[in-house]
């Protein structure tokens, strides 16, 4: 009875549904991939952790304001919705100097220093970071820039030998500690270099211990704070920088910016795909309405000779299930092919390695869309047939 029902509207609705669903699945899949490198340990861009500090101004230099974060400032940061973690840097409240351990291969030197500590969860280098009173040495992490300055600036101008990272890490250092009227020396060792944190870091446990013995009793407000922000919160971060007159390393801002842009772009793609989907859904509903109005005489007559609304609706819906089932399967297949042959190849060529998140969620999304299509068509068809039945 519903033969000869192929027409342009059907072709357009089918094509629209196919394109829309495929695009939706692709963007959804890509979005998942991007999420996966947001959340995995070894990330492309690193976590959304940035070090913030207040800008040093002319007033600061003459002592009119300072760059410390007061407890109120910290509380304010914690209350921000887009900041998920706040950790102030802790500083040593004693004097620190380092010199070589004779015989370990370093030239003779002595330098005044400072120590800071951050919670372990913010460490961006994977090193053995444990320390207790019986430890052989104090682990130290230096900024990677530090060795650059030594080797390509300081060493050349002073005529001393350059030091490799390996040598620096192999050699022990003598740590001179002076505070609270007591002096001592301990052994330290450079265990790693941080890309992100421009400070000289020691384990929190050591700093607690040493501050307990050698502290001069000053209350030191932190001048640098570690914060972790949510994804896509570049805008809020920038606002906060203006508000508190903050300094943030440009590199970490760029990362936040790139992440935000990527997410927004994929989001827009996803929204566009969703719109195409909805349009084609409307197309299908229209198509089924058209089909129904073309066969309204037949439907009315079927109801007049005793066919139930349900059985007529089912006849329609089974057709819809077949048509849209084919569309859904095609979409999934196309998405997989595009993923393997285009997206992955393109990512490889551009040197981006993503942890692929698998097709499972996309397939589930496809099935949900299938359900949505069938459901909405079912409701629309049933309403119309019921109306036809009532008017018979």
């Amino acid at each position: 009875m519903f033969r000869n029902s192929t027409n342009f509207q059907f072709v357009f609705a089918t094509a629209g549904a196919l394109v829309g669903l495929t695009a939706l699945l692709l963007s959804f899949n890509l979005m998942l991939d991007v999420r996966s490198f947001h959340s995995s340990e070894k990330e492309l861009f690193g976590p959304n952790s940035v070090v913030i500090q207040k800008k040093v101004t002319k007033l600061t230099t003459i002592g009119m304001n300072n760059t410390e974060f007061t407890p109120e400032d910290i509380e304010m940061l914690r209350s921000k919705e887009f900041i998920t973690d706040v950790a102030p840097f802790q500083s040593a409240d004693f004097k620190v100097g380092i010199s070589e351990v004779p015989g370990d291969g370093l030239p003779h030197f002595y330098a005044d220093m400072f120590f800071q500590a951050i919670p372990d969860r913010f460490m961006d280098v994977d090193v053995d970071w444990s320390w207790n009173e019986n430890s052989e040495y104090i682990p130290i992490v230096l900024p990677r820039d530090f060795i650059m300055i030594i080797n390509y600036g300081f060493a050349q101008s002073q005529g001393i030998n350059q030091i490799s990272e390996e040598l620096l890490m192999a050699a022990r250092l003598t740590i001179h500690i002076d505070g609270n009227g007591k002096k001592t020396t301990m052994i330290g060792r450079v265990v790693g270099f941080s890309q992100k944190i421009s400070s000289i870091l020691v384990p929190e446990s050591f700093l607690h211990y040493a501050n307990g013995i050698y502290s001069n009793g000053n209350i030191i407000n932190p001048s640098r704070v570690f914060i972790t922000t949510k994804d896509d919160s570049y805008g809020e971060l920038e606002e906060l920088m203006d508000e508190m007159n903050l300094d943030i390393s440009q590199a970490s801002i760029d990362v936040a910016k790139i992440k935000t842009i990527i997410t927004v772009v994929i989001g827009i793609f996803g929204v566009a795909a969703l719109l195409i989907m909805l349009l084609s859904l409307m197309g299908f509903v229209q198509y089924s309405q058209l089909m129904l109005s073309k066969v309204s005489y037949e439907i009315r007559t079927l109801i007049r000779i005793g066919y139930s609304v349900k059985s007529i609706v089912m006849t329609f819906i089974i057709q819809m299930i077949v048509i849209f089932g084919i569309i859904t399967v095609c979409s999934i297949v196309i998405m997989m092919i595009v993923n393997v042959l285009v997206v992955n190849v393109w990512l490889d060529e551009n040197g981006i390695h993503l942890e692929k998140s698998g097709m499972g969620p996309s397939v589930i999304l496809a099935v949900l869309c299938f359900g949505l299509f069938i459901g909405s068509n079912f409701l629309s068809v049933r309403k119309t047939i019921f109306k036809l039945g009532k008017s018979s």
Binding site: R3, T301, L302, I303, R304, I305, Y307, V309, K390, S392
Partner: protein, 213 residues
Amino acid sequence: MKLEFKSVLPFPLQDYHHAEESVWKKGFALNFPSRVMLNASSGKGKSTFVNTVYGVRFDYDGTVLLDDKDIRQFSLHDWIELRKKSISVVFQDLQLFGELTAWENLQIKNKLTAHKTDDEIMLMLEKLGIPDKKNQTCKTLSLGQQQRVAIIRSLLQPYELLLLDEPFSHLDEQNSAIALDLISTETTKNNGGFILTSLGSKHGFEFDAELKL
């Protein structure tokens, strides 16, 4: 089954003058099984009568009762059940599926009710003289042939009441008598009754009652 009209007057017929004995005025109550003739000239509302009883149109004043229940209260589902099991019809405009063959038209009904075997349906076609039209699409059949298909279709279900709206208008007297004989036989088998509307001819049949419009 009891069919009762109480002061029923369709909107389109309100301005006409109706005779004293017209069912539109005085109403009636009939108990089925019985064979009833509804006699009236054109334009008096025969089709309106059939369509009203069949629950197809509701544009009337008054009350139609089926087994003492107001048919306005029936849901679509109730009507569909009635049309499957209790009330059958031959519409004046037949309402066949023109794109389908005569056989398919009959099968569409019989599939729903499983009332007759294929052989029995074939026998009916033979009795009404159109076995050779079985595989012809209905739109290519003559009106008389279409009428016979519609009559057979109306017999492919159990019924207590069969409504026949001028079913013989394109049949000659002889074929009308054969068709009426078939209808009567089936009605007896179903232990049901029918209302046959006609322009006046009784087709040589003895009716239990006669209504006038």
